[in-house]
Subunit: 118 residues, 2 copies
Amino acid sequence: MQVAFGPYVRQRREQLRERDPRYSVRQVAHRISVEPSYLSKVERGEVAPPSESTILKLAEELGADPDVLLAMAGKVSSDLQEAIRARPELFAALIRELKRMPEKAVLRLVREVRDGDW
Amino acid sequence: MQVAFGPYVRQRREQLRERDPRYSVRQVAHRISVEPSYLSKVERGEVAPPSESTILKLAEELGADPDVLLAMAGKVSSDLQEAIRARPELFAALIRELKRMPEKAVLRLVREVRDGDW
DNA sequence: GACATCATGTACTGTGTAGTACACATTACC
DNA sequence: GGTAATGTGTACTACACAGTACATGATGTC
């Protein structure tokens, strides 16, 4: 957890709250179906980040990127995991190769894949 | 778990055993540091697949591809997960893009990345 | 045919995960 | 200034995970 999950969520929520009082701990907690005390503890990092499903609800609620939020929680989206498990040797090789490469190279690759004729 | 983890391990171990009696449940269990009864249950699918670290030892012991064995167990290697977490938006986008693509395209991409000038 | 080795059944355990339930003190509003 | 909403502390819980410990019965081997 290099950048703390909890504080990030808190900051984000407080920011939304400035414009809309519906973003209190209690009301957000209620909307994502957890106890307020639990969300409070999560935001202060007193307990570990929630489950994937709760994180996804939180991401939607706060308008955050779910993959980024999951990453901050030390998790990887289960649909990505499933994609990797479907072709383990292939994806494993690709990811291990790419992880040594500079950001720019990966970005270029993503773009090429996206609009290239693969 | 599309292809059963346990039976695959059992088959593999029995195969090795034909040429070397040191590949009994007991002895393999001992070498990877678990109880024989536990390995037995794992191979028969009576219990869920072991932890990542135990699977890795098993893979080495049986000369199997660790990524494939992990995949069969419904897991993704933690070093891959870490690589994804390091650049979540990038990898998430790439993997989601690639998962719809045919095997051949991914394979070609892997090769190009491997020996290309990225 | 005794002894070792083997696979497996039964019962139990410690640790982690992902929270709930509720009381309490504080703050904000009308 | 009462009441309504808020954040947080304490205590507890249900369930899953990843096994261990030990006994039993079968098999093989010398």
